[in-house]
């Protein structure tokens, strides 16, 4: 018993507690309205169900949040990630080519460039975009929100230039596996997230880079005085964020089988920022929580599902969403919780 209470106490006082609690809460609410909410069926060897849908739909946001978490930890922000998703989609779609080739009434799968080349091309372009952001922030010294505003706006233009203003429809089926394929019964894109997440966590925690990112985010002057090259660290965080947005763009493009410069990744930057914040990483930089950001992405998706389950009229659903997220953010604040407990006369829980 004692051991369990120690573990509970540790879990309760960790930053991950409130995000997890919020997620569990919404899942339970769904269970109450829909008794079969957690049911997972097996169809054609794939797992189907609400939970799988939630996971699958949050994958692009999860991918973006991995990079964005590091950027936010350096006291920065990147609002161009949604536009980078559009650029990545556009590049990969154009490089694969939107040709439907029929031979004797059967479709033949052809690509302009081999698929791996197209994928690498898209990731290279978004990484370069990340370098642009990183250069503006770390070398030129422009405020992050303004620096990334440039690609936030211009990025969609670039995406449309690449697709020459058209929506490129894809017919090359092997590429669709990325966003809508299944492996061992689970969406393939989930493996991509897990792969990127594990590699990132490994690099961040097994090299000194995680500590350097945090120290630069908390106190750039003191970090510089300790011999840390803050500029380089900030630069590479933006590059990595561009890279992650690129992967998200591939998944999005593969999933909707087309590249739309105007709408791919639209408003994703806001959901991604929200995921990071819900996950416990502060916008004022410093300590960061990659797992928390993943939970944050799941919360946002679950919340959307919950709002649908409640049949909230579409015209007010955004307001409801905003209100609920507001409450979650407040609950994460220790100060607010203390005040709340005092008001309701409850016992103050030592955290």
């Amino acid at each position: 018993m004692g051991e369990i209470s120690v573990i509970w106490k540790k879990f309760y006082s960790s930053r991950i507690f409130w995000p997890v609690a919020a997620l569990v809460f919404f899942l339970l609410v769904n269970l109450i309205i829909k008794a079969d909410f957690f049911t997972i069926e097996i169809k054609d060897g794939h797992l189907y169900g609400n939970i799988i849908d939630i996971i699958k739909n949050s994958i692009p946001i999860m991918l973006i949040s991995i990079g964005l978490t590091l950027v936010i930890a350096t006291k920065g922000i990147d609002i161009s990630v949604g536009s980078l998703v559009a650029i990545s989609s556009a590049v990969v779609a154009v490089m694969i080519g939107g040709n439907l080739v029929m031979v004797n009434g059967h479709q033949e799968f052809v690509t302009l460039f081999p698929m791996p080349v197209a994928i690498l091309g898209a990731l290279l372009v978004t990484s370069i975009a990340g370098m642009w952001n990183g250069m503006l922030v770390s070398r030129v010294g422009i405020q992050p929100i303004i620096a990334t505003l440039i690609l936030f706006i211009a990025g969609r233009g670039i995406a449309q230039l690449i697709t020459t203003g058209q929506i490129v429809y894809l017919y090359y089926e092997p590429f669709f596996f990325l966003g809508s394929g299944y492996l061992f019964g689970l969406p393939f894109s989930l493996y991509i997230v897990i792969f990127v997440l594990v590699i990132t966590m490994f690099i961040v925690r097994k090299t000194a880079i995680g500590m350097f990112i945090e120290s630069v985010g908390i106190n750039p002057t003191a970090s510089r005085f300790s011999g840390i090259n803050a500029k380089n660290i900030i630069f590479w965080c933006y590059v990595f964020c561009g890279f992650c947005s690129g992967i998200a763009g591939l998944v999005v493009c593969s999933n909707i089988k087309s590249a739309d410069g105007n709408n791919a990744g639209l408003l994703m930057e806001l959901d991604a920022i929200l995921s990071v914040v819900l996950g416990g990483t502060s916008l004022s930089g410093g300590k960061f929580y990659l797992m928390g950001s993943m939970i944050g992405a799941l919360i946002i998706q679950t919340l959307s599902v919950t709002i649908w389950s409640f049949n909230v009229p579409p015209q007010i659903s955004l307001v409801v969403k905003a209100f609920v997220i507001y409450i979650i953010c407040l609950l994460q604040s220790g100060k607010f919780r203390k005040g709340l407990f005092r008001i309701f006369g409850g016992k103050e829980i030592v955290s």
Binding site: I209, E214, I218, G227, N229, G286
Partner: protein, 510 residues
């Protein structure tokens, strides 16, 4: 000359103000007369800025009263204070650089004619106003196109036009050159002769003497005294600011040991660090210095005298305009701190909160930060090694913490300071710069740190010890460079080092 006949225009009695953990002002009395320039002086943390903040309504005193022209006042915001006639021009000028001079003077009170701003009248009035301050410039130009000195005049013109009975200037000369200072003083004298009461905060001794009629000295939140400037000898003023009578420097037994030890260590002739002609415009005039193995070099001087500025050049925080730095005889470029660290230097900065600790990180992370920075990103120290390093240093320096994983911001000031020292000791530097390592910590901890400094020197480290407590510098240095007004003005060695002679050097006599 001060007009004392009507009594002081501003009178403060028994002002108390504390912040969490510090008593910033305790029972301070202060008076200001019409037609005088009154200099407020004191070391860092003496309470100068707090006193001003109380007068201008930024902070509220916990006890005591303020009377303006005999009437009790209690300003609760700078705007409120301004309405009462108390105007302040801050060190960082708070005007709008992207508006014209005239707009800056009349912002929020533009003359209106037929519902529109009357630009002509605004410009004319601005011209007239500035000419009373002997400034003639094109008032339609952007404020940012003029020098800091002119911008300051504009700020003064603005507050005067809003009708000021009292003008407060907070370190107005810190970014001005000699001619600009003269210009400013000319204006201040004129305003004084017109009957304005001027409160002038500065840390430049000569300027205080040049412009002020009366000086109030604060020390550690207490009023040390109020003096007529021309009756107060410079040496006396310095000793008032340091809060000790010249004869009062008596040592306890432990301190005597430190004192003699400090003088002894200077046998090695191996010069580890040497600077030639090192200078940076606006921060320090060319300076030569060297430190040998096992030697403690002290920097003495008041705040802003150039001691920290020199250390920043040595450590590559600021880039020198001229001069060379040699480490063990080899010329090194110090373009950033990381160059300096790789050359074997360490630097405990003056401002612990801003330049030192990473407050949300653990004690362990704070300790290994510089070492890890030296090793680079990919040569990560294993957790076990990190903890070992941290634990050893915690034990060695006697840092009081619940463990290696305690957040460093939960530690007391003295312990945070020791964590800073630990960070640099972990990198095993050959040359260690300590800028005010004893600031804001209690007496016991101060002695501990000085003992530690001596032990490090004994082991062969070269140390640069900077402190505004002159007696500390005297006690543990075998050579002292004396700084004044951004210039190294003298060097004392061995037996010549004593508080008295340093004070006299700073005061300008010999």
């Amino acid at each position: 000359m001060p007009d004392n006949s009507k009594g002081p225009i501003l009178e403060m009695k028994g002002i108390n103000k504390s912040f969490p953990g510090v008593k910033a002002l305790s029972g301070v009395d202060f008076r200001l007369f019409r037609g005088e320039v009154h200099a407020l002086m004191g070391q860092n943390g003496a309470g100068k800025s707090t006193l001003i903040k109380v007068i201008t309504g930024v902070n509220r005193q916990e006890a005591g009263e303020i009377r303006l022209g005999g009437k009790l006042i209690r300003p609760d915001s700078p705007l409120d204070a301004q309405r009462l006639g108390i105007s302040t021009v801050y060190q960082e000028i708070n005007l709008c650089p992207n508006l014209s001079v005239a707009e800056n003077i009349y912002i929020g009170r533009q003359p209106i004619r037929f519902g529109k701003i009357d630009w002509k009248e605004m410009n004319d009035k601005s011209n007239k106003l500035l000419s009373t301050l002997n400034v003639s410039i094109d008032v339609t130009q952007l404020l940012s196109s003029y020098s800091v000195a002119i911008q300051q005049m504009v700020a003064i013109a603005r507050v005067l036009d809003i009708s000021a009975k009292i003008l407060i200037l907070d370190e107005p000369t810190s970014s001005l050159d000699e001619n600009e200072v003269k210009l400013l003083f000319g204006v201040l004298k004129k305003l004084r002769d017109n009957g304005l009461a001027i409160l002038f905060v500065t840390h430049f001794l000569d300027q205080a003497y040049e412009i002020s009629d009366r000086i109030t000295v604060l020390k550690n939140g207490n009023k040390e005294g109020e003096y007529i400037s021309r009756d107060l000898a410079k040496v006396e003023l310095i000793s008032k600011m340091l809060g000790k009578e010249l004869s009062e420097f008596s040592y306890s037994q432990k301190e005597t040991v430190i004192n003699t030890e400090g003088k002894k260590i200077r046998d090695s002739k191996e010069v580890l660090l040497k600077a030639e002609n090192l200078a940076r415009k606006g921060s320090i005039a060319p300076v030569d210095l060297d430190i040998s193995r096992g030697e403690i070099l002290g920097f003495a001087g008041l705040l802003g005298s150039g001691r920290t500025e020199t250390a920043r050049l040595l450590f590559g925080i600021d880039k020198a305009d001229q001069g060379d730095i040699f480490i063990k005889g080899k010329k090194k470029n110090m373009n950033n701190p990381s160059n300096a660290i790789n050359a074997g230097l360490g630097f405990c900065p003056e401002d612990r909160k801003v330049e030192g600790i990473i407050d949300q990180l653990s004690v362990r992370e704070n300790i290994i930060l510089a070492l890890q920075g030296k090793k680079g990103i990919f040569k990560n120290m294993p957790m076990k090694k990190q903890q070992e390093t941290a634990e050893n240093l915690i034990k060695m320096l006697g840092i009081i913490t619940t463990g290696t994983e305690q957040e460093v911001r939960r530690l007391s000031g003295g312990n945070q300071q020791k964590v800073m020292l630990a960070r640099w000791l972990a990198t095993d530097p050959e040359i260690l710069i300590l800028d005010e390592p004893t600031r804001g910590i209690d007496v016991g901890a101060k002695l501990e740190i000085m003992e530690l400094v001596l032990n490090l020197a004994k082991k062969g480290m070269a140390l640069l010890f900077i402190s505004s407590e002159i007696d500390e510098v005297v006690r543990c240095s075998s050579k002292v460079e004396v700084f004044k007004d951004r210039e190294k003005i003298n060097e004392l060695t061995g037996g010549d080092i004593d508080v008295n002679s340093i004070m006299h050097i700073i005061a300008g006599g010999n």
